[in-house]
Amino acid sequence: MLDKDCNENKCAEQIKKTFQTAEVEVKREKRVTVQLRSDLIPPFLSFAKEFMEFKHLSHMSCVDWVEDNELELVFILWNYEQQVQIIAKTRIERVNAQFVSVKKFWNQAETYEREFHEMYGVNFVGNDRLGEFILEDWEGVPPMLRDFDSIKYSKETFYQRPGREDAQNVRATIAKHSGEEVPGFAKDYTIRNIED
């Protein structure tokens, strides 16, 4: 159990007081999670950095929740003095994803934004270095999006060396030998692909 007056709880209280719509959770020792409306992220980051001493941007991440048609932007901050980590998250529209650049708070955010622009198709307004970063002459779907099928891409793009066509499926081989007919609805539960 965490002490009521511990740094984690104090942080959480301070955030709740300032950002009333934020969902704040102290997950465990040194861990605070904050869910925010996307337009509140810049003021939150500024507040955390300037008033709460979260000077270190540990990490930024982007997660594709394709089933919700949303992208999640994640900002992970670290307070060296109080030794608390904040994971601040927000969801944005997945189609024509757009967000405001936060490089004015931390210059290194620029690199993350370049990557998310290239890999997730997020346009960070205010970042003038968006463009080719890791990939070269890429024209397809931003490849880290869940609907980019990397196996299909690999099969289409690269030469498949012949010689492995004789591979057999174990489950199917046994079923064929015994004459077992696995009905379609049961195949949903076949861990190993039975047809291929």
């Binding site: 492995r164 004789d166 174990v170 009905p183």
Partner: protein
């Protein structure tokens, strides 16, 4: 910065290294000895490997293919496939080794493989290094913790002393958590499905249980076995003996998992609700089935689903055949059988009880009424023990004894019982007698490990303090002046190795004879069928060999409209084989009548 003379001179100390021996490997180059768990190229013991393909499934590089290689065929317990590694993709992480359920796949200390031919990177371990791979084993699964779970979730049972007080079910069944945990052990290779006479979709329903989709598991089970709950309680479960995990650990408790998922369905209505069966419109064809045992019920169920008009003729008051009358209720309770049969009745199967063909209705009448007839009457007539004095009062047969007990008829067996035989029927009779308060001894000709009964049954009997006397050959039934059994004379035997390579035979030790005092002697050395109801002209047209009706692989006799299933048609003598026969007969009958 000031001039740093020391800093300029000290680096020259490096020159002193010139006088020291080098650290590098000697020249000309010698191959370095690898560490004892080095991860080099694969080796597969082809004889130990069962081709389950788990190596291929876990390989994150997609480097392992399962292929046919000469000399290995698909058969029970072996898919006949063996792994081939694409060394152009392999990263030698050895997940395949740590997951291998038989321990046949290991890595060797070989790490140099140079070739100009990119196609020769496809490499079959155990074939391409057949010569010396085994001597060079390096990273081995036996050394560390395996990735798979080798311990079965234990099944809770009533205590032995508690069990003998009543006929309450001995096995308490898995709880939901236990079932999920046990189901999670399955690696879904499907090797088990080959030996299952019905070829149930075992990996699929187990995975459904593991994922918490119990209703789907029930649907998958009913796809080719309408007596899943019965099988869950009493199946001979050959699947478990071929389970891949069985090679190094406890097999997945396939039977108990089936029991868990089917027994949790409360009644016939709920079964129907879960399955929501698609019953075809009546197709106008009529089939008669003799005997409501496992094969008859199975055939009737699937025929009824396909729109046939099906009637089962059952001589007794209850459906189930040997599973109803032969299996004691502590293994298979009556309400469980009723539930499964009620569900079949609800989808249109008709059963005429107390109707013995040959007595209450003639075979020819049946032939008139139905276009096809299937016989599944089972073996009900016990073999005599073959001893002098066998006719004495108190010398009874196990099948009759179990029939009476299961029908609620009281049998006075006194307090000292001996059972002759070593099969499941003998053990059942012994354990039932124990529950009736008697002191019970089983006399068996050979060793305990030779007993045909399930080891769990034997163990159960032992826990209930049944005395098992192996290598005991009965010689004579002894009775008093009233013709009442008082004992059995038997001789101890020693086991003699068979010159022809068969299993060892018991040989009586001269003079080592004893008398066991008794109140009841129960014979359990086997049964046969009673074919007297079949008219002679028909008997002549079909073949009966060694007490069984000869059928082809579609359960058909020489007469196109007559089919035979179950104990009278196969040598397996278990319920699951009877179900398989019934399932096959459905396809043949469908083909015959619908010309499909």
């Amino acid at each position: 910065m000031a001039f740093d003379l020391k800093g300029i001179l000290t680096p020259f100390a490096a020159l002193s290294q010139g006088t020291k021996p080098p650290h590098t490997v000697k020249y000309p180059a010698e191959q370095k000895e690898t560490a004892h768990r080095y991860r080099g190229m694969h080796h597969n013991d082809l004889e130990e490997c069962i081709g389950c393909g788990t190596c291929s499934t876990i390989c994150q590089n997609g480097a392992i293919d399962m292929i046919h290689i000469d000399g290995y065929e698909t058969n029970n317990g072996d898919s006949g496939l063996r792994p081939r590694v694409d060394n152009g993709r392999c990263c030698w992480c050895a997940l395949c080794v740590d997951v291998c359920p038989t321990g046949s796949l290991n890595l060797t200390s070989d790490y140099i493989y140079v070739t100009e031919d990119p196609d020769s990177f496809l490499w079959t371990p155990g074939v391409d290094n057949a010569k010396d791979g085994k001597e060079k084993l390096s990273w081995q699964s036996s050394e560390g913790k395996r990735l798979l779970d080798y311990e079965r979730v234990p099944m809770k049972e009533l205590e032995g002393t508690e069990r003998v007080k009543s006929f309450a079910e001995v096995v308490l069944g898995y709880t939901e958590d236990e079932a999920r945990k046990e189901a999670d052990r399955c690696i879904a290779c499907g090797i088990c499905t080959d030996i299952c006479p019905v070829h149930m979709h075992i990996p699929e329903y187990i995975n459904a249980i593991a994922r918490g989709e119990d209703d789907d598991a029930v649907r998958i089970i009913y796809d080719n076995n309408p007596l899943g709950e019965m099988c869950g309680k009493v199946c001979t479960r050959r699947c478990e003996t071929t389970c891949a995990i069985n090679h190094k650990g406890d097999p997945v408790a396939i039977r108990w998992l089936k029991e868990y998922v089917t027994a949790r369905v409360k009644n016939a209505d709920v079964i129907k609700e879960i399955l929501n069966p698609d019953i075809a419109e009546p197709n106008g064809h009529s089939v008669g089935i003799i005997g409501a045992g496992p094969s008859g019920l199975t055939a009737a169920y699937y025929l009824a689903l396909k729109g046939f008009d099906v009637t089962i003729y059952e001589s007794k008051a209850h459906a189930g055949g040997m599973i109803m009358y032969g299996i004691p209720k502590y293994r298979l309770p009556l309400d469980s059988i009723d539930k499964q049969v009620d569900y079949m009745l609800s989808i249109g199967v008709k059963i005429k009880y107390n109707t013995k063909v040959g007595t209450d209705i003639t075979f020819n009448e049946l032939k008139e009424k139905h276009e096809a007839i299937m016989i599944g009457i089972g073996f009900e007539v016990p073999y005599p023990i073959g001893l002098t004095g066998e006719d004495a009062k108190g010398s009874i047969q196990a099948v009759n004894f179990l029939y009476n007990i299961n029908s609620g008829i009281n049998v006075d067996i006194g307090d000292k019982v001996a059972v002759i035989g070593g099969g499941n029927v003998a053990i059942d009779a012994a354990r039932v007698s124990k529950r009736m308060g008697a002191e019970v001894t089983i006399l068996y000709r050979r060793r305990v490990e030779d007993m045909p009964a399930d080891w769990e049954e034997i163990e159960g009997a032992e826990h209930e303090n049944v005395i098992i006397h192996p290598q005991a050959i009965p010689l004579e039934v002894i009775s008093d002046e009233n013709g009442k059994v008082t004992g059995v004379k038997y001789a101890n035997a020693e086991m003699i190795a068979d010159d022809k390579g068969g299993r060892p035979r018991p040989k009586i030790i001269e003079g080592d004879e004893h008398i066991l005092p008794l109140t009841t002697l129960i014979g359990a050395i086997g049964q046969e069928a009673d074919y007297s109801f079949i008219p002679d002209d028909i008997k002549e047209q079909i073949e009966i060999s060694r007490g069984r009706i000869v059928v082809d692989e579609n359960q058909a006799t020489a007469l196109p409209w007559l089919f035979a299933t179950g104990d009278i048609a196969n040598r397996q003598a278990d319920a699951i084989s009877a179900i398989a026969d019934g399932y096959r007969a459905v396809k043949s009958i469908e083909k015959l009548l619908l010309k499909k």
